[in-house]
Amino acid sequence: MKKLIVLVILALAIVGSLSAQKLEMYYYKQEIQAGLKTLTDAFTADNPGITISLLIIPNDADATMAARAASGSLSEILQMQSYSRVFEYAQKGYLVDLTKEPVLSRVIPSATAAVTWNGKKWALPMDFAGIGIIYNKDIFAKYNLKPPTTYRELERVVKTLKDNGVTPFAGLLKENWSIGHFITLVHTSLLAEKKIPVTKFIADMDAGKTSYGVVDTGKLFSIIDFYRANMDDNAEEMSWNEQQAAFSGGKSAMMVQGLWSYGAAIGTNPSLNCGFVPFPVFNDAKMNKFYADVDSTFGLSSQASAEKQAAGKKFLAWLSTPKAIKIWTTDCKLTSDFKGADLSALQAPFQQLMSTVAKNGAYPWAFSMYPTAAFEDGAKNGAQGYVFKKKTADDVIADIDRIWREARKQ
């Protein structure tokens, strides 16, 4: 009898393990490593038949993902950057069409543009991120400064800081991604000055009907010059780590960064007192908005079997439950793209970002909509080449135009 019971249990266990779906999630946001584990464990607790293992590729995430796609070994669940990354994989057929999934209707409507290609939705927008000026409130208070709302105010803040021997902006020029973000941030704002909607600009660039220099390029490059001139003298030597150290150590009063850097700075110096404001490009305060958009998304691989796709859809649906949102905002410390999500657990600068964007709107992350090569090479290498004086302003514009044309095979 005992043997029989053991046999039955064994048989059940085998059947159970066979029917259980093992999914793999591919992700690049290394800062949420622990949070994601909590999230997927909680999902498995609610759905005992499905387990999710995690595969982290923090650097050159796209290179690895493209290689896996080409060799037919994509993970079932894919964390992707919004816009271009999603569109490229969707176009090549690697993603499952999620348009009809009910969970997509729970997403804030403005967030779905980041995952919509060819009229269909290919991924689930997860978090909202913003790039702006993270400033040290204590230093500002010491010199009686207010967070700048116009370009002139920013110039004044910078002047005061410099007169007092404080470096205004923590430098980061050894890596090119941050200055790449910066040039597109200013460029996107300047598009608004010309009243050109970002989507129209992108479509016109794709069609070869306009140039990157359609904005006031004099202003664009003079702001880059201003930014460079007010960083550390040896900013060319400084990578992200050095920037964080300079800012969290109080050597510099501001950094132009995404809020992902706030986590790092506060991690080094927990007593750091930070504020977050848009980088003011204009002297008209109303025109200055956060450069903010959907950051990461989750998609499903069309190469997964039908059963695994179903299990993956279950996971995506579960992400919109209050329980999942709570883990996402408290453990992963990220904002949420779901309607009515409870964001009370977020830290102050995140709250500041969300409330400002709700009130004033935001400039979308145009760089996410550029063809990959136009951002990686044209904007990032272009802006860095400009501050290293390897390229002139005209070179940068001409290179972006050319690389964009080549990428779209015009």
Partner: protein, 507 residues
């Protein structure tokens, strides 16, 4: 001992055949694939076997072009029609299924967009200068100042005199330069009365702008922008119009209007120097480019790491006391991973050297960076070559050296006539290793500078391939570059081996 024939056949089947099979599987096959990809315009992402296709396209471009019924039914066993969007789709295809599908696509003559055969186009592009300019050695113009920005508060004396003053052709231009800048503490400083921020503040801080806010900031912005543009274009008329329009349309007292005129007049004047500085303070500079840097790195790395490796070996071979310890010490850098090496040296260049020497820029200086990278590589590699040279030295029979020494030959003569000729086999292997390692180096530059190397001019060939394939989505072109690199390495090391082998002396 002569072995029976069956025995050598057995050994061949047991040991050589599996080796050959593995060689074919893990070298010849991928290499062949590489050559194939180099003839395509693959973007690195497009699947060779489409994952989904519109029904009509699928039928007309693939299905109906297959002549045999069994081929069509095989295809339909892999693809299923999704009625939701009228597309044929497939799940992951692996192993033999994949090969059969590829074969069928060839039969149907189907090539997906983004994965088409382009013949020698990639190679032609590389040889005819069709890839990025930074790939080749080239001259570029370094523009040191952008006329749309504020004048630099200070300009280093050398730059100002050599690259600006010396190029001014007229006395008026020189006069203009000295009207704005004066030499103080070995740098040229912009005179305080031309500080643009302060000049603009004379308008921004007018009570009507700053306190009463009856003049909007947009209006001030527009005025300053017009004045600056007029200044750059030396358009006095436009300047006059802009200022008088502003004054006429703003509720200003006569004194304030005078202040606006005086301040804008100064800002207008800055334009003349800005234009002059932007057009004159430029330098023609040479940039090695990817090819040039790879050659530079190879030459100096081979030279220095072999020289230092050899000298260390000679020193340690003299029988000095701490020989064993020193050998380990010199070899130790080689045990470290390149990434660790890069981190350690990055720390030295960022934290230690500036503090010791007072010089701020090391890796961030395009003039120093290529040399520093060579230095780190030599530091890491010399110990390894030293061990090979030591082994070579220990193989030289001491009796020959002793006999020469008894005959009265000095150290230099022994080195030249005995040691060096007998050490040629060690040179052969060391040169080969350092040559091929230098030509395909990647990890050190990746960890020390990353893609920023394009701005510094420190991108080696392999990293350029990596960037093309994954960031620029030009996998076909990148593979063509890789094949060319392979050919170059094979040729260069082949020539080197044939030369040094001929010089080897048999004892």
């Amino acid at each position: 001992m002569v072995q029976p024939r069956w025995k050598s056949a057995l050994y061949f089947a047991l040991f050589v055949l599996p080796g050959l099979a593995l060689y074919a599987l893990f070298f010849l096959y991928p290499f062949g694939q590489g050559i194939r990809i180099s003839f395509t315009d693959w973007d690195g992402l497009t699947p060779r076997i489409p994952i989904s296709m519109a029904k009509a396209d699928f039928e007309s471009q693939i299905l109906n072009r297959l002549p045999r019924a069994d081929e069509r039914s095989f295809l339909l066993s892999i693809y299923h029609l999704d009625p939701a969007d009228n597309q044929y789709k497939r799940y992951a295809a692996t192993g033999l299924t994949r090969y059969r599908l590829q074969h069928l696509l060839r039969v149907a003559g189907f090539q997906p967009e983004g994965y088409k055969v382009v013949g020698f186009a990639n190679y032609l592009r590389i040889f005819t200068g069709g890839v990025e300019e930074r790939f080749y050695p080239h001259v570029f113009t370094q523009v040191n100042y952008n006329a749309d920005s504020d004048l630099p508060a200070t300009i280093p004396r050398g730059d100002f005199e050599k690259h600006f003053l010396a190029r001014l052709s007229t006395p008026q231009d020189r006069e203009l330069a000295f009207a704005f800048y004066s030499l103080q503490d070995d740098v040229y400083r912009l005179k305080a009365r031309f500080d643009e921020f302060a000049l603009e503040d004379r308008i921004w801080l007018l009570p009507e702008v700053a306190v009463k806010k009856v003049i909007s900031s947009e209006k001030v912005d527009a005025l300053l922008s017009s004045v600056k543009t007029a200044g750059l274009q030396k358009d006095q008329a436009a300047f006059n119009v802009a200022v008088s329009d502003f004054v006429a349309s703003s509720p200003l007292s006569p004194a304030e209007a005078g202040e606006v005129k005086a301040a804008t007049e100064q800002i207008y004047k800055l334009g003349a120097l800005k234009g002059l500085l932007a057009s004159t303070w430029v330098q023609q500079r040479f940039e090695m480019g990817v090819i040039g840097f790879t050659i530079f790195f190879t030459i100096f790395n081979v030279l220095f790491s072999n020289l230092i490796g050899f000298l260390l070996a000679l020193a340690l071979d003299t029988g000095i006391k701490s020989q064993k310890v020193l050998r380990s010490v010199f070899f130790l850098p080689n045990v470290l991973s390149m990434i660790v090496v890069a981190l350690v040296w990055s720390f030295v260049f960022y934290n230690l050297l500036p503090a010791l020497t007072g010089i701020d820029k090391w890796m961030g200086d395009p003039d120093k960076a290529p040399w520093l990278i060579v230095m780190v590589q030599v530091w890491q590699q010399a110990g390894y070559l030293m061990v090979i040279y030591l082994a070579g030295l220990s193989n030289i029979p001491t009796d020959v050296l002793e006999a020469a020494s008894i005959d009265g030959t000095g150290f230099a003569a022994r080195l030249r006539h005995i040691t060096l000729p007998l050490l040629v086999p060690a040179f052969t292997i060391c040169l080969f290793l350092s040559l091929s390692n230098s030509l395909k180096s990647f990890d050190l530059m990746y960890a020390m500078v990353g893609p920023s190397g394009y701005a510094l001019g420190t991108i080696p060939f392999v990293m350029d391939i990596f960037f093309d394939a994954f960031a620029k989505k030009l996998a076909g072109l990148a593979t063509a570059k890789a094949i060319l690199l392979f050919i170059a390495i094979a040729l260069i090391t082949g020539v080197q081996l044939s030369i040094t082998k001929r010089r080897e002396v048999q004892m």
